[in-house]
């Protein structure tokens, strides 16, 4: 795995969820990838603010959040050419097939349902980051 040492810049991941324990669990799971920089945001607006101020290699977001939900966040990012290619993973309690299809149609790259397993998230994130050259 070359997420850390081989890249000139550390891979940076933004974790967006309004549930603090959920954010902590995702961060904990991803802390197994050495050298990864993890940033947290507690809703879509907070996420947009942080995205504007830094370069992210991956965004992980919940759907159900106050102010700006995860689907609107994906839509906003995909409409901006600066973020068209940034991978986005949705992690949500919404397990219906139509929710999944809607999220993927808007431009999300992957869709996981809660409750999540740490290894599942870790494997997905590692695959996406390696696939994008990190």
């Amino acid at each position: 795995m070359n997420v850390d040492r081989d890249s000139a810049r550390r891979a940076t991941v933004l974790v967006v969820d309004d549930s603090p324990p959920m954010r902590k669990m995702i961060v904990f799971a991803l802390s197994r990838l050495p050298g990864l920089e993890l940033v947290e945001a507690d809703d879509g607006v907070d996420a947009l603010r942080k995205i504007a101020g830094a370069q992210f290699d991956l965004i992980i977001t919940d759907i159900n959040m106050p102010i700006l939900d995860g689907l609107k966040l994906v839509k906003r990012l995909r409409a901006d050419e600066r973020y068209v290619n940034v991978p986005i993973i949705i992690i949500t309690t919404e397990g219906a097939a139509e929710d999944r299809q809607r999220a993927l149609a808007l431009g999300a790259n992957a869709y996981l349902t809660k409750p999540i397993r740490g290894r599942e998230v870790l494997t997905l994130v590692r695959g996406i980051l390696e696939g994008s050259g990190h």
Binding site: S19, P20, P21, M22, K24, M25, F28, A29, R32, T93, G95, A96, T113, K114, P115, R117, G118, R119
Partner: protein
């Protein structure tokens, strides 16, 4: 003298006869040579014209036989030094003296090691799962004990049920000790208006958990009834402070796992403590920390 002349005449005749015979034979030999020469010329002409298989030059056959022998020797050596692979490990007999017994032993050890590595991989995977589970418990616990307001406790209980256990329908009841009943405070997945106050002294599972006198633990019976997957008491010490009723799984969830039961057991104890703590905190009067008061708590 005449005898000598006669004697001299005879040898001459013999000599002439011998010369004639010699030259006669020479002529025959010369003709044979010419004939053979012509035949050889004809063969060369045929060879040049490609009409006949060339004769293999002397020595080539011997060289070829020698080369074949050499190749057979090399083949025999290669068979003796045949490289064997066991999993990802290469065993080359020449490197270990080509002792077949050692090779077999190494092969057996490699197979055993391969199995051990696979077993360790499974063990590592299980440890990672356990590590994640313990981290889940720690984070939930931390979140509950950091709560200073009732809203924080309710929010944490909601997030745990929804995000960590995978229950999409549940209700939180809190106790009214004065009236000896529980009343619905929040509900997820359906309208709270459908719920009513419930007396603790009914005959169902609510009465059973109310009389437990301690937090629910993994291994205890799972109190349930139609429409409720589980009644979970929230207990602080021996004091029942609330009840969570788990009513419906998320679509992607179909049953509770051992990890879920461990989280529920922790919620039963620490959710109860967190609820009581914010209740006590809400009714406490502000008081400065002083040495006298602290020592009085310990020694008086």
């Amino acid at each position: 003298m005449s005898g000598q002349s006669e004697g001299q005449g005879k040898p001459r005749e013999r000599t002439e006869a011998q010369l004639a015979e010699f030259f006669g034979r020479g002529e025959v030999f010369a003709r044979q040579l010419i004939t053979e020469n012509e035949r050889l010329r004809q063969e060369i002409a045929d060879y040049d014209a490609g009409g006949e298989t060339p004769v293999i030059p002397a020595g080539v056959v011997e060289e070829l036989i020698s080369r074949v022998a050499e190749l057979e020797r090399e083949l025999a050596e290669n068979e003796a030094n045949e490289v064997k692979k066991v999993g990802d490990i290469v065993v080359q007999p020449s490197q270990i003296g080509a002792d077949p017994a050692i090779v077999r032993e190494l092969e057996a050890r490699c197979v055993a090691l391969t199995e051990e590595v696979a077993s360790l991989g499974e063990g590592l995977s299980a440890l990672e799962g356990e590590n994640y589970h313990l981290a889940t418990l720690y984070i939930i616990l931390q979140q509950l004990h950091a709560a200073t307001a009732l809203g924080d406790v309710v929010q944490t209980l909601t997030e745990v049920c929804l995000n960590f256990i995978g229950v999409g329908g549940f209700s939180l009841y809190v106790i009214d000790e004065e009236r000896q009943l529980v009343f619905p405070l929040v509900r997820e997945g359906a309208s709270i208006d459908e719920l009513e106050e419930r007396p603790l002294a009914d005959d169902g599972p609510l009465a059973a958990i109310a009389g437990l006198g301690r937090p629910w633990q993994g291994g205890d019976p799972v109190p349930h009834e139609f429409g409720v997957l589980m009644y979970l008491p929230l207990v602080s010490g021996e004091r029942l402070v609330g009840v969570i009723t788990l009513e419906a799984y998320l679509p992607q969830k179909s049953a509770l796992t051992d990890s879920d039961f461990a989280v529920l057991a922790m919620l039963s104890e620490h959710g109860g403590i967190a609820l009581e703590k914010v209740w006590v905190g809400a009714h406490a009067t502000e008081a400065q920390l002083t040495r006298r008061a602290i020592e009085a708590l310990l020694f008086d």
